[in-house]
Amino acid sequence: MTSTHYDVAVIGAGPGGYVAAIRAAQQGAKVAIVEKQYMGGTCLNVGCIPSKAMLHVAETLHQLASIEDLGITLPQPPVFNMKKAVSFKDKVVKRMTGGVSSLMKANNIDVFDGLGTVDISKTVTVTKNGEQQQFSADKVILATGSVPLIPPMPGVDGDKIMNSDTCWNLSKTPESLICVGGGVIGIELACMFNALGTQVTVIEMLPNILAPVDEEVRKLLVRILSKRGINIVTGTKVESIADENGQKKVVTSTDKGQQEFYGEYVLMAVSRRANIAGLDKLIEQGLDTDRGRVRVNDKLETNLPGIYAIGDLIHGAGLAHVASTEGEIAADNAIGHSATMNYEVVPNPIYTFPEIAFVGLTEAAAREKYSDIRVERFPWAAIGKAVAIDETEGFTKVIIGKYGEFLGAHIIGPDATNLISEYSLAMRGELTVEEVSETIHPHPTLSEGLREAVLAVEGRPLHIGPKQKQVARAR
């Protein structure tokens, strides 16, 4: 079945790699894909998909807390079985990874199981349990992704220390958890464990959690999470981890001195680093890297002819959908087109409760770049559908340039991650506020809030009075 020469070889079957393989195969190329661990990569196995399954469980549990208000009586607290939740998550993952395998088959892509190493002549060696297979390719797309970054510190390799790869198969809900790192991964997991009933402390080194998020949105989220009992500690550096009286002890430092935190588990969610396993040879042969990631141009070409790199392996947002788009662009270029990446409009979803999603610039960044901008918000509390589903926390915020163009949009509230696409489309299609405000939005839906925010820019929001508007602004 398998051959010894391919038009395109893809190393890594995550959301970047498998999409690249499909795109190349769709256009008639003979494609091989090499995967060392699991089809779908981090995203499908230990990232986006399992986390969304577990977040769904957690969110459902979270909603049950106020179910009495809806006239439904359940035993309080509801009985939660972690093992069953994990097996639900496993079913989801299995179904999704199975889907990737059948997509490979349907597109006549040869799948090689093992660690792929590449050399400058574009010979790919696949190693599995000491056995080797070799083939050559005209073009190679490197898509080996990333792994959790575990910073060196005393005690970091101890017992009951998890990371975002290893926290998915617990047999019971942890009593308490110290999450080291308040970035997107850390905060999503903190939110999830909190909803499952864990006492969570987040320790972030920077002055703020969720550094890339618009300040106003972030402040509201911090308030909501704190109210829910998540202890958020910022400007604090973790120095060491130790065991004390059957608990994990996390020693931290600030300018003011040392502090200790105790918990059943520690979750390391500091950052991720590029996975360069298998690339040593290429790097030795001159593959250009920059601070631990592979350097590419806007066609995603590395400095070595015919070798492309995409996804978390290169510098960028570290988002699955960006990796997939890069996969499409790299595949197009690998088979002879000339396509370039455009990173101007990248939607960022964050799966907290409530959800956050944004696209484009934050208000601060927009103010730095442009002197003439308008910023407006619209609260979910004034949208019928949000009130009906009892999710009224949060708002939609738009940042508009002098021609009425969208510079940035930020949503915190119900279904924010789905809603953001309207604004992404507006930005990519270069729509102005007029096109959005002139578009009929269905009632009763959350999408009305998106239009209302734009109407506010035009000075004519419908479902909020001038005074209320002041309140919304002050948030």
Binding site: G286, E405, G429, E430, T432
Partner: protein
């Protein structure tokens, strides 16, 4: 309907000269296929078609220049394919004839301003984004003058911004020029020349290539706008030459040899780490300090000068530097540099040592703030412990931008370059 436009192939490109058409009217063109070769200010590049169809007409013939964004050919697709295709198929001779007449030198003169080719506006509809329309309205731009670069020829924000930028650069040198956008950039440039040189009968007039025009413009700007000052030093290269000989003796067949210039690149880059203010640019009252240290190396090419860039030179080993420099020089001489090879320099080195130059000053390559001129190394008697000793001495002169750099800083920077080259093992770190 979709046109092939003169693309912007580099950041500084304003116009391009068609050097060769690879497709002729009537030829089938695939998406992404190269249709023409173009000479820009920096390099010879290929123009690819963004659409598939049949090449109906060539609008800019070989040897002619067009500003970016101007249509250079028309490719028939969609509803027009049949008609255009049939026409081309039926009368290929006639089509050829049109192209040939167009190639005659006369009609290209400024008097016969080529009429803007109508794109989608026969039916009164122009494909454009709402934002592009708003911007055009604001700036009083007729969308019919523009060619869209978006999907299906849609006019988007970038096209308006490019057009505004083009207007700005075209009107800046000749403010008297009529506000109507001149579709041909060449006359505007000619008009800007202040005092024409009187021609004697036997004088030969050679038109500048686009690269030469760019060099002329940029270096004039540099000398007029950037207050240069110069600081020189003598560097004892004896040990460096010794080490280089040893390194190269062991490299074997096919290996990359390290040149004196590579050693200088490395020394300059490492010294820039220590003096980040020299790795900088002046911009509108601001002092921009660059994080990356990207060294431009001036390369002598037929009919001009190119400065390809070695990125992050401070982070690279000597062998890597040598390999990259060798590849860039070869590409420069073959006319194959890409805009990426030329962009992003933060400091430059011009080495005329191999031409036995004793001393020279280089012109700063804006927006960089400094350039090192390297002269030949010569056997010179120098006093060592009051005894004359024969050493290899090389003179270097640093030109620096006095708006942001001052004598003492530059002198200390040069001392550091000297210290590194005279303690050559420091370069191996």
């Amino acid at each position: 309907m979709p046109d092939v436009n003169m693309p912007r192939l580099s950041d500084t490109m304003e116009e391009g000269t068609i050097t060769r058409w690879l497709k002729q009217p009537g030829d089938k063109v695939k998406k992404g296929e190269v249709v023409a070769e173009v000479e820009t200010d920096k390099a010879n590049m290929e123009i690819e078609s963004f659409s598939a169809g049949i090449l109906e007409q060539i609008l800019v013939v070989e040897g002619e220049t067009a500003p970016i964004g101007q249509p250079i050919a028309i490719i028939g697709t969609g509803a027009n394919v049949q008609q255009a295709g049939a026409k081309a198929a039926a009368t290929p001779q006639a089509q050829q004839a049109v192209a040939v007449t167009a190639a005659a030198p006369e009609p290209a003169s400024a008097t016969s301003t080529p009429a803007p080719v109508s794109n989608g506006n026969q039916n009164g509809l122009i494909k454009s984004s709402p934002l592009a329309r708003r911007m055009a309205e604001e700036h009083g731009i007729e969308l019919t003058q523009l060619k869209g670069s978006g999907p299906g020829g849609r006019i988007v924000r970038d096209d308006i911004e490019d057009y505004l930028e083009q207007q700005r650069t075209m009107t800046a040198p000749a403010p008297a020029a009529a506000p109507t956008p001149a579709p041909v950039a060449v006359p505007a440039v000619k008009a800007a020349t202040p005092t024409p040189v009187a021609l004697a009968e036997d004088d030969e007039v050679v038109s500048l290539s686009s690269m030469q025009k760019t060099i002329a413009r940029r270096l004039t700007e540099s000398k007029q706008l950037v207050p240069h000052f110069y600081i020189g030093n003598d560097i004892d290269l004896t040990d460096a030459l010794g080490m280089r000989q040893k390194l190269n003796a062991s490299v074997g067949e096919g290996g990359v040899k390290i040149s004196v210039n590579d050693l200088i690149v490395k020394a300059c880059a490492l010294a820039l780490e220590k003096f980040p203010e020299v790795n900088s640019s002046y911009r509108d009252g601001q002092f921009i300090l660059h994080k990356h240290i990207n060294i431009g190396i001036a390369v002598d090419v037929p009919g001009g000068l190119l400065v390809p860039v070695i990125r992050d030179a401070n982070l690279k080993g000597l062998r890597t530097l040598a390999r990259e420099a060798k590849a860039l020089i070869a590409k420069a001489q073959a006319g194959k540099l890409t805009p990426t090879d030329l962009d992003g320099g933060t400091f430059s080195i011009s080495n005329l040592g191999m031409m036995d130059v004793s001393d020279f000053n280089a012109v700063i390559n804006p927006p960089q703030s400094a350039i090192l001129a390297v002269a030949a190394s010569r056997k010179t008697f120098v006093p060592v412990d009051n005894q004359p000793v024969l050493r290899d001495i090389m003179h270097v002169t640093l030109s620096a931008d006095h708006r942001i750099l001052y004598g003492a800083t530059v002198a200390r920077y040069l001392q550091e370059v000297k210290r590194l080259l005279q303690n050559i093992y420091l370069l191996l770190g």
